[in-house]
Symmetry: C2
Subunit: 347 residues, 2 copies
Amino acid sequence: MTTLSPSGPIAGQRKVRRATMNDVARLAGVSIKTVSRVVNDEPGVHPSTAERVLAAIDQLGFRRNLSARNLRRGSSTGTIGLVLEDVGNPFYSGVTRAVEEIARLRGRQVISGSSDEDPGRERELALEFCSRRVDGLLIVPAGLQHSYLVPEMRAGTPVVFLDRPAGDVVADTVLVDNIGGTVEAVTHLAAHGHRRIAFLGDAPDIFTANERLRGYREGCVRTGIGYHEELVAMGPHDEGSVAATLRRLRTLREPATAIVAGNNRITVHILRSLAGSAERPALVGFDDFELADLLSPPVTVIAHDASALGKAASDLLFARLDGDNSPPRRVVLPVRLVPRGSGEVHA
Amino acid sequence: MTTLSPSGPIAGQRKVRRATMNDVARLAGVSIKTVSRVVNDEPGVHPSTAERVLAAIDQLGFRRNLSARNLRRGSSTGTIGLVLEDVGNPFYSGVTRAVEEIARLRGRQVISGSSDEDPGRERELALEFCSRRVDGLLIVPAGLQHSYLVPEMRAGTPVVFLDRPAGDVVADTVLVDNIGGTVEAVTHLAAHGHRRIAFLGDAPDIFTANERLRGYREGCVRTGIGYHEELVAMGPHDEGSVAATLRRLRTLREPATAIVAGNNRITVHILRSLAGSAERPALVGFDDFELADLLSPPVTVIAHDASALGKAASDLLFARLDGDNSPPRRVVLPVRLVPRGSGEVHA
DNA sequence: GGCCACTATGACAACGTTGTCCCCCAGCGG
DNA sequence: CCGCTGGGGGACAACGTTGTCATAGTGGCC
């Protein structure tokens, strides 16, 4: 194995101009159009000519400029844009992976970015993607205003909202059954004898957090254990605030004996806070996560599949790209309670 | 809050042609060049003119076409390409996040794709990114041949290899101290009295797997416990093969009392296989992972920071983009053993 | 031998933007 | 009143590619 040094810029030389079809054409002694034909596998090029062209391409290291191509062709840049909350969050990286998979099958590249729950950033990313003329847009909304997308949608860019609905446009949306999930969580805990069930959720202006709170409340009402303000703690949570909340819940006149966690991050914060304490409340977490089954006790969760979400949204998007122009759809994916132990502790 | 329906394609109408600078110019009663000036915040436009232009832009929902811009300007498409093994793997999604962060600070978008350890796919992705004229390329190599990148590097596209070195080109590379890590793992286990330490690693043609094996071997030699073929199991591992290997290790004439796991996936497979069994060998895993500290016993790991890796690589890439043309560098990031319990079990 | 059909190839414009260069006009000094 | 200056704005070409249309050559057929 010889080690090639690319003897070019790396060694501090001037940048070499990139070869264009023109250069290839000159070298191969044909017209630029013929090069184009070869590059695009168009018929009607004599095999021997094609061979000369290919040799020239190889020699020059030619690679066609997709900016130029996209400009000329007008339609389809072969990319789709994905705006999510945080690629670093395993849930969203699962979504990303699924989207990438579907996109690959359909010959598209994914461009993604994290909004970090900042509506301004979400908008910035989405519009940036539009400037790049993505063929479609998948968005996990951070904000409630999406009218900024109207011109893009009018111009034919399909948009699918993911995990949360758009604020003020009508568009395809894929959600999970947040309400059903927390109703089930509460029901499950109540069935195991718990009457004092707390809910720790994310900031209430986040759609899913709010929905899950609603489900929690409905569960409390349906099971007859009643809804008690003091058992609810919403808001952006970090390790510290979760620990503080747990302390508070323990010292109530009637302490909480069970907890529903509003998302995977909160579940983990809770687990970490509880680590080592002998007495631990029953726990059901929203979102499944790796290793939940290996903890002791294993963590009961409301599971919903990141891949399924990504796949459903991509499928919807590609259906639009294929010309489906039926009215906007709202898909709600089911969740399921996975009993593992942590929620089956008796009160 | 009113609900806007984008009354366009969604409702099944014809696609509206997207507004161009020409349309804006016509509407604003100026030349296209003036529109360009406004859009690019160039000086020399009368405030009142600029206002008219901005109004027209708003009215038409104009968004400049970056394909055209990039084509015309020739340099910098404002994107960087990231080829990794699997965005769905938490380790790589951490890398992605870090890269995205740095890119954002430098005004770049990240385009990423997963190679799934397939060299062909890696190449395909990298070249696709080159066709899109990314400003730079970050690659977690799947294969050993990277001479296909030479024309690109010559043309001035900086390339940084991540986590593994390139096969046959000289280029910037950021690695972690794989050898040092497994040496330390073995040393740690030996210090706790283990003499029969097994190693479960990934396929040996993967650079990191091979390095870690080397470290393991060196650790065995240095500690004087000796290297025994029968204690090593390389190869692509899944849940089943790991379980089988563990059974084999248990039934040796001198069974293994400790295990070093070659990466986070293997560690998890091991944990899952061991779940429930009373007697468990000591374990040190390569790669830290979320909740490792909450398992029982908590899992001792060789930790290295995905963000640090992503950041180091991006920093290197942007240094190149800023004109640094010193000889290619190889950065090796330190790892550290995080003792948590699973590796401190006495033999 | 003349005409046609067909294959292989090329000339040219156009995609939407920006860099270069030029022009117009108001204001000002001589 | 003239020439000069500088701010504001426009005409035009060019980026690299592809779609449209034209054309040269070749062989077959009456």
